[in-house]
């Protein structure tokens, strides 16, 4: 295995992006930040990979136009996944493992506010027996939350505790679109929305984009004093149907965590767009009680589609660069009710 590190990270998250759904104008300054962090020009980038969805943009091949922000003379080595940034990163990591390239910039973008996000996402469901009913994302999460409450695994108070901690932590995150914790009592006094979920249990609709820079071996050491070395990366998938899996569990998250090993993790950034999902993930990943979860505020305070998972890895990497932690974890999810899960562990070496 080649040693590969995360050496750059830039993000933008906002409630509503006043710009085109291809987000080209948002991507240009993101790449400038990545060049500034690394001292590279775009010609130093061996491989590009992006994550986005045409359904969010409402137009076909939207990622092709986003390539404008890269610049393509001479021609570039480029790919795309109809998935979150974290999966684009997985592809780039594999590409570096092949030895074909030493460096990569991966990016993702999405203007969730262009349509009705929770409805648009019904198109990622099983198309014969689910999509025709248009089950929206919030409803599917509500079914999951109820299953856990009925099973006695968590309650509304535990969910409110997650929300309150996230909102409090988000006060330090300039990109968070929702922030400001108060108290669990105050949150529980708010009206129930999609019973059993309150609005603060659900991630806000968020526009945005993000980019991560990867480099192998000495290329990483050249540009970062303390690179965030990728120690393990793994992803698994559970069945899509809501009936054939135990919604209170996430076997795919558990297997991904077992594959990489979570011992010694000090900070975990978990992609949990609903408060109870953080509780599911904490258990399935097997995180110790003293692990700091989502110091950025997490997806409950800002959840740009197709970037939010990768942002978790960027946030986990930043804590390595700064010396705050020596071992961190970034997690990304996709699909209904934590169907797909990717886990990436990062470490700093002295």
């Amino acid at each position: 295995m080649r040693e590969v590190a995360v050496v750059g990270f830039a993000q933008r998250q906002m409630k509503e992006f006043d710009g085109s759904p291809t987000c080209v104008e948002l991507l240009v300054p993101l790449f400038e930040e990545c060049y500034e962090q690394t001292g590279w020009t775009r010609r130093d980038v061996g491989f590009w990979c992006s994550g986005s969805s045409d359904y969010l943009a409402g137009r076909s091949f939207s990622f092709v136009q986003a390539v404008d922000a890269i610049g393509v003379i001479p021609p570039v080595n480029e790919s795309h996944v109809e998935m979150d940034l974290a999966w684009a990163m997985y592809e780039a990591w594999l590409k570096i493992q092949t030895g074909e390239v030493d460096t990569a910039v991966v990016y993702a973008f999405g203007k969730s506010s262009a349509g009705v996000l929770r409805r648009t996402l019904a198109l990622q469901l099983e198309p014969y027996t689910m999509t025709p009913l248009w089950p929206d994302t919030v409803s599917l999460a509500g079914l999951q939350a109820r299953a856990g409450i009925d099973a006695g695994l968590w309650d509304e108070r535990a969910m409110a505790e997650v929300a309150n901690r996230s909102l409090t932590d988000a006060e330090k995150n300039e990109y968070a679109v929702r922030k400001g914790g108060s108290s669990v009592e105050e949150l529980l006094a708010r009206p129930v929305y999609a019973d059993p979920l309150r609005k603060h249990d659900c991630a806000p609709v968020t526009d945005g984009a993000a980019a991560l820079v990867l480099a192998a071996g000495d290329r990483a050491r050249e540009v970062q004093d303390r690179p965030a070395w990728i120690d393990g990366i793994s992803h698994y998938v559970d069945p899509m149907s809501m009936g054939t899996r135990d919604l209170t569990r996430s076997p795919s998250a558990a297997r991904a965590a077992q594959a990489v090993g979570v011992a010694g993790v000090e900070v975990a950034e978990l992609h949990a767009p609903f408060s109870h999902q953080e509780l599911v993930l904490r258990r399935e990943l097997g995180l110790a009680d003293d692990v700091v979860v989502n110091p950025s505020g997490g997806a409950l305070t800002s959840n740009p589609m197709f970037s939010a998972g990768g942002i978790r890895i960027g946030e986990a990497a930043r804590r390595i660069w700064s010396g705050e932690a020596s071992r961190t974890l970034g997690h990304a999810t996709s699909g209904p009710a934590l169907q797909q899960n990717l886990v990436c562990t990062l470490e700093g070496r002295s």
């Binding site: 085109s20 104008e25 393509v72 262009a114 009913l133 299953a147 919604l247």
Partner: protein, 321 residues
């Protein structure tokens, strides 16, 4: 004022899918008023039947008819339904385990308020009167208690002769589609009778309509350039084929016009000349619609018309083909 111009857009299409033998069996059952599950290698009856066994990965072939009554195993309230959902008023989504099944089915539950739902409550299928072999043949679940016992039971059977092999799922998505700030400046310029482009600070190329970044250099285009309304036909095609929504009677010419001062051609119509006389290199000029018909659209320019000047030299536009 917003940086961008935006307009509502609806993207709509019908997905036509073949069902295969397993989902086809399930959907045929729905059309005929019965719910069909599949037995897995572990002996569980799953509804809808999975196409492949989750453990052995073999195709599921053991089908079981289950009851149309069952138990709610989880539910959530839908206070603000979205388009296409089973109801356009608040309702519940529920997971319902039908009698005879071991795994729940997702569908809507018709109740007026969340107070009327609870995990463990008994519900049953409300069948659609006209059934076609789709999941929507089940209108929803409804509480059993509210019903007359005499009414309980299967739907009026509508056995079809042929198995269901195909489903058509209509999809319609509504967006508020925004142009980029640079494109917005272009359309606002057109509303003033001006054609605006932008120059790349790195390579100096002028793009019209302007792009948010130069695709060659990957930098934002910044400097605004007002372009001439005169240009050169770089390439063209004669449209002979009628199609839905066509506004001009064929034959007519659609051409790339390289405006003087621009490095990228715009697509527009060439009229006021017989189609077979249009040629590469021909000099043309924008013909604007009457000013009171203008909006923020390229249609403010009705078409391009020959200027009558001598044709441009090939060398002047060969790099823009």
């Amino acid at each position: 004022m917003s940086r961008t111009l935006s307009a509502p857009v609806t993207v709509a299409f019908d997905y036509t899918r073949s069902t295969g033998p397993v989902l086809g069996r399930f959907l045929t059952g729905l059309r005929d008023g019965v719910v069909v599950g599949g037995r897995t290698s572990e002996g569980r009856v799953v509804v809808p039947p999975p196409e492949f066994d989750p453990v052995t990965h073999q195709q599921v072939t053991d089908f079981v008819e289950v009851a149309s009554t069952g138990t709610v195993t989880s539910w959530t309230w839908v206070p603000e339904p979205v388009a296409g959902q089973p109801f356009d008023r608040p309702f519940a989504f529920a997971l319902v385990t039908l009698e005879g099944a071991d795994a729940p089915l997702l569908h809507a539950l018709d109740v007026a308020s969340p107070d009327q739902v609870s995990t463990g409550m008994q519900v049953r299928v409300r069948w659609a009167e006209e059934r076609v072999g789709a999941i929507t043949d089940i209108v929803c679940f409804e509480p059993v208690a509210e019903l007359d016992d005499a009414d309980a039971g299967a739907a009026a059977s509508q056995p079809g002769t042929d198995p269901v092999t195909k489903v058509i799922t209509p999809v319609a998505l509504d967006y508020l589609y925004a142009a980029s700030p640079e494109e917005s400046a272009f359309y606002r310029g057109l509303a003033e009778g001006r054609i605006l482009g932008q120059r790349c600070p790195a390579c100096g190329k002028v793009y019209v309509p302007p792009r948010s970044a130069c695709p060659v250099d990957g930098v934002a285009t910044t400097e605004e350039v007002e372009l001439s309304e005169t240009g050169t036909v770089t390439t063209f095609c004669i449209v002979n084929v009628p199609f839905l929504g066509q506004r001009i009677k064929p034959p007519y010419v659609s051409a790339y016009v390289l405006l003087d001062g621009a490095d990228i051609a715009v697509l527009h119509l060439i009229l006021d000349i017989p189609a077979d006389e249009v040629r590469m290199g021909m000099r043309v000029k924008a013909v604007w619609k009457p000013r009171d018909e203008w909006g923020t659209t390229i249609e403010n320019i009705s078409h391009f018309s020959p200027t009558g000047d001598p044709d441009a030299d090939y060398d002047t536009y060969k790099h823009h083909l």
